[in-house]
Amino acid sequence: MSALPALPGDGCDAPVLRERGQREVFCGLTGILWLHRRIRDAFFLVVGSRTCAHLLQSAAGVMIFAEPRFATAIIEERDLAGLADLDEELDRVVGRLIERRPDIRLLFLVGSCPSEVIKLDLGRAASRLSTNFGHRPRVLSYSGSGIETTFTAGEDACLAALVPDMPAAAPDTAPRLLVAGSLADVVEDQFRRLFADLGIPVDVLPGRSGADLPAVGPATRLLLAQPYLGETARRLEARGARRLAAPFPLGAEGTTAWLAAAARAFSVPAARFEAVVTPGRDRARAAVARHRATLAGRSVFFFPDSQLEVPLARVLHSELGMTLTEVGTPYLHRAHLDADLRLLPGDVRLSEGQDVDRQLDRCRRDRPDLVVCGLGLANPLEAEGFATKWSIETVFTPIQGYEQAGDLAELFARPLNRRDRLEV
C-alpha cells in the first residue's frame, strides 16, 4: 500500500509553554449544544446550579426550541441540607421529565461543578433510574463540569460513557471502521459515500440514535474525526479497537491523509483510492486556493478553545501559507495530534492551558494579522485593532471533509476581507 498518499513532515518538537491561570474557555457542558442535535433521541439533564442553566442558554445564543432536549435540574438551598434528599429530588425531577417527554430513549445525567463538589454520585443515580424505568429510557451519566472538562472535553466524556454500552463484536467478524467524534450530518453523509466507494464498512459514534450503538471489538479500526477524544479512544482501545494514526480531516490534504489511513487499514488498492478521492480532492484544492491570496503570508495567533487548534493551524500553515505565531490549546494530546504536529513548522510556539492576561500580553507583542479566540475576547481585541475569528464557529460550522475545505478557509479569510471592505 506504499502508493497510498501519506502526509510528509519532520515533526514539531517545539517546547510547549504550559500555563496556569485564568482560563477564558467554556466548560464541558457546552458540548450538549451540539450533542443533543446529533443524538436525536437523547435528553441531557444537567444536575447543577443556575449558573449551568444560564451558561447553556447564553452559549446557545437564541432559544429556538419550545422545549429543547436539554434542561438543568437546579440544586437549591434545601437540597444542600442532606444528600439522601437529593436522590429523591433527582428521582422526582427525572420522573417529571420522562412523563413530559416519553419520546426520549437515552437520558444523560450530566455532572456539573456543584454536583462534583458535593460528590453527588450520578453514576449510581443513573443505574438506579435506568433499572426503575426498565431501561426505557436508558439512563447514563458523565461529567461536563468545569473543574474537570474544558469545552469539547465534554463530548469526550459523553462518548466515553457510551462505550461500555456498545455491544461486543463477534470474535470472527470482518474488520469494520469506526469513525468517532460528532460531525455535521452533511459531513457524515459525504464520508459515508466515500467509504462506501472505497469498499470500507463503517460505523459512527455518536450515531443519530443513542439507542443503536455500533459493536466494538478487536476487528474495529478506530478513526478519530475529532482531536478531543482522549478518554473515548482509550476506552475503545481497551475493548480491542485499533486506532489508525492520521491527521484530522480538515483541508484538502488533511482529508486525503485521513481517508488514506482508513484505506491502508482496509487494503484498498491505490488506484481505486485515487479514483474515489480525486474529484473531491480537486474540488477542495480549488476551493481552498481561492482564499490563499487573502491568507498567505499573514500571521495567526490561536487562543485555546476547542482542541481543534493544532489541526486548524496545520491547515492554515500548510494549505494556506499562513505564518503561525502562537498555537494555544486547552489540552495537547500528543499521540492523537502526532500527524498534525509533524506538519507544523519547528519554531511554532505551542501553549497548553492558559493564563489569559499573560497570553493577551504575548498576542499584543506578536501583533498577528488574525487572532482566533473565544467570544469573550473577540470584540475587545477588535477594539484594539486586531482582526479576529470566533473559534466557536469552527465547532458549530461543518468544516471537515473535501466539500467543506473551502468553507473552512473562508471562515478565516472573512474577517480580513471584511476589514478591506469597510470604509467607516
Binding site: E24, F26, S58, E67, A73, V93, R96, I147, G376, P380
Partner: protein
Amino acid sequence: MQLTVWTYEGPPHVGAMRIAAALTDVHYVLHAPQGDTYADLLFTMIERRDSRPPVTYTTFEARDLGGDTADLFKTAARESYERFRPAALLVGASCTAELIQDDPGGLAQTLGLPVPVVPLELPSYQRKELWGASETFYRLVRTLSAPARTEEAAPRAEAARRPTCNLLGPTALGFRHRDDVIEVTRLLDRLGIDVAVVAPQGASAADIARLGEADFNVVLYPEIARQAAAWLARAHGQPTVEVPPIGVGATRDFVRAVAAVAGVDPAPVLDAEAGSRLPWYARSVDSTYLTGKRVFVFGDATHAVAAARIARDELGFTVVGLGTYVREFAREVRAAAAEHGIEALITDDYLEVEARIAELQPELVLGSQMERHIAKRLGVPCAVISAPVHVQDFPARYAPQMGFEGANVIFDTWVHPLMMGLEEHLLGMFRDDPEFGDGRRPSHLAAVEPTDHAPAAAAVAPAPLPGAPGWSPEAEQELRKIPFFVRGKARRNTESFARDAGLTFITVETLYDAKAHFGR
C-alpha cells in the same frame, strides 16, 4: 431541585458583574472554575462592549479541591490588583466556590491591599441576578460612600445653586439603561436640576464616595438601586424619588415628584408643547383599532407594571395578564394586577408563562426576549419591554424607554407589530380575494418563520376537548369568513358557548349567538 429549561435571570454573581462592568475603576475577583467565564460574552457580545468585563476568575480545578484553592484565590487577587490597579476590589464566590467555603472576603483582607475591599456574600442557591446586582451595589455604596460632612451642608443651602440629584440603578446589560440616563438627565435639566452622579453606570469609586453630596436620589430601577438608596437616605438624610418615568403618565408623575423634592416648579415641563407625541397618536383615528386589544404583560417588575399602565391608560388596550419573574417585587406586581382586575403571574418558570399566554390568547404580548420567542411560536405579535436582554435590545439608534421620548419609542415599538387600523379594515374587505390566502401573513410580519411553528404549536395548542360540539358545514363556512387572526378565538368561544348552553351541534345561529354573548 427545580427543573429548568430556560431561565430569566442568571446567578447572583452575574448581577455583581453587571455592577462591576458598569463602574470605571473597580475590579471583581471571583472565586470560580473555568466555565464561569462564559459570562464575559454576555457583555462583549450582547452589549458589544469593547473591553472585557473587569473580572478575574480564579479558575480552580478538581485537583485543587481540598488543597490550595485558598492560595489560588489570594494569588489571583494579588495579581489582578497589580495588573489592573483598581480603586476598589470586589471579592466573592460563584456557586461552586460557595460550596468549598474559602471565605474570599477574609482571604482578601489578609493581603493588605491599599484599596477598599468589598466582600460579597451572594447565596447562589437561593438568589438570582437582580438580587445580586442590588446587593453588590448596596455593599459598594456602603463601603465607599464617605460619611456626611457638615461643611457640605452650607453650599446645599445656597439659593443660587441648582438642586442636584444622583441617578441610581443603570448597569451594564440593562434594558435601554444607556438611553434612559440621557433622557432623564435632559428632563431634569429642563426642570433646573443637575445630575451629580450616575451610578453604577459610568461611575468611578470616587463618584460613589461623593453620592452623599447630592440633594436627593432618583431611583431609576428599583430592582437594582432601592436598597442602596434606602441606605443613603438613612446615612445622609437624602430623600428618594422612586417613580420610574416610563410612559406619559408616569413621566408626569416623576416630574411632579422630583419638582416637589427639589423645590422647583414643574409647570414649565408639564405644560410644554414639546411633550410626547403619544397622547395625540393615541387619539388620532387610526389608533381606534387599538381599542380593547387584549395584551399580556410580563417582565421585570418595574417595566411590567409601567407597561400595564401605558397599555390601559395611554393606548386603550385591555390588560389580560400581568406578571414578573422577580419574586422580590411580587408585592408591587400583585398590587398593580389587582388594579387591572386580574391575578398576577409570579414565576420564573418559562413553561408556565408559555402555558398562560397560550391559555389567554392575547392579541399582543409585551414581554422579554423569552416571551418574544413564545409569541413567535404562537403567532402573536410581540414587543419587548424588559430584560433579559438580547443583542437587539442595544440598538444603534437612541431608543430610551423613559421620559417623553421614551413614550414615543414605546408607541412605535408596541403598535408596529399590530395591524394598522386601515390595514385591518382592508383585510376584512379583501379577505375573499384569491391574492389574499389564509396562509399569508400580513406583510409586516413576514419575518415570522412558519418553520418552527408547527411542532411548537402542536405542543401548546389546546387539545380538542372531550365532548366538543360538532360544527355544521354552514357554520364552518361562516367561521371561515372571520379574519384568520381572530378565527381561533371565535372557534373556541363558540364551542365554549355551545357547551355551556348544552348544545352538541353548532349552527350559524349558534355562531352568532356566541358572538353576541362574548361581544365587546
